[in-house]
Amino acid sequence: MRKNYHLNKVIPLRRLGFYLLVTKKQAGFFAGLIFVSFFILSAIPITFGEEVSKINDESLYKRQITADSLRWEYEAKTAIFTGNATMISKEGNITADKMTIFFDEKDEVEKITAEGNADLIREKQKCGAEIIEIYPDKDLILLEKSAWISSDKAMFRGEEISFDTGKEIINITKGVKGEIQTESEEEPINENMVEIQ
């Protein structure tokens, strides 16, 4: 039977006959689905390419941060940006209410934290959390507390999401829930839609 899915709308998996919850009984199914979802998240074309501003390749600078105000604490080696903080960097574009950059003794960036309505837009994914931490030397991005990640095909939520930006591996842990988008040539979804079981 033909599957009539709404064009370009995210359809909760439960409407397709699935609902993703992490339980011991569903662990195998969950692992498989997450694997497929990672594939979808990472394999799709540049979804947010138009939204991602990039540092010019010829620029001398790797990161640009803008904000309403800055408090520079020299001894603590921290720059604290508050109010409409945004950062354009190789790790992606981040927006948050507050952003803190921690420098090491050589004035190199050791860690970046974004807090309060923190969003990260990368070329292939858009994600967010209450706190985003970036460790440039470790090629690691951590999204903590109410974390979510989406592409134009899938959306997942979890307590913590980690990116290994070197290997392009994404891990979602604790309380994972997800949605996957499907497409059709037909009109919007309705109650008579065929369900996948």
Binding site: L60, Y61, K62, R63, Q64, I65, T66, A67, D68, S69, L70, R71, W72, E73, Y74, E75, A79, F81, I101, D107, E108, V109
Partner: protein, 138 residues
């Protein structure tokens, strides 16, 4: 000056003294903060006022303060390992802070900052920029 800690030294190409103020040209002020590297402030023009009466609203009495106002091509060289440029800069002996509402440019070896309004204590290690901040990091 034996036994006194020199907090800052002032040089100028020329100076004109009157009853209310000392007007300076080609100003160079060198600060020697404790436990930190010294730094220098240069400006084309400056005004030094001593014993300016101000009302202390907390105590309810008038008190005296010294003021330095620098303007035109102000450069702060070597403060927290950076160089700062702005159009004007004020300091007074009560707040002991340097401040301006002008646009500022700060350059260091591995980063630069642009913004509006800056405040810092010459002897401290905290600098705040109040508005429209952009930082670029290498």
């Amino acid at each position: 000056m034996d036994g006194e800690i020199i907090k800052w030294e002032l040089e100028a190409d020329s100076a004109q003294f009157d009853e209310n103020a000392k007007t300076l040209k080609g100003v160079k002020v060198k600060f020697y903060p404790q436990d930190k590297d010294p730094f220098t402030i240069k400006a084309d023009d400056g005004v030094v006022k001593e014993n300016v009466l101000v009302e202390n609203l907390t105590v309810g009495e008038a008190e005296k303060k010294d003021e330095i106002y620098l303007k035109n091509n102000v450069q702060i060289i070597g403060y927290l390992n950076s160089n700062i440029k702005c159009d004007s800069l004020s300091w007074d002996s009560i707040s002991e802070t340097m401040h301006t509402q002008d646009k500022v440019e700060i350059e260091a070896e591995k980063w630069n900052i642009n913004g509006e309004g800056i405040e810092f204590s010459p002897s401290g290690d905290i600098m705040t920029i109040n508005k429209d901040v952009t930082m670029q990091i290498n």
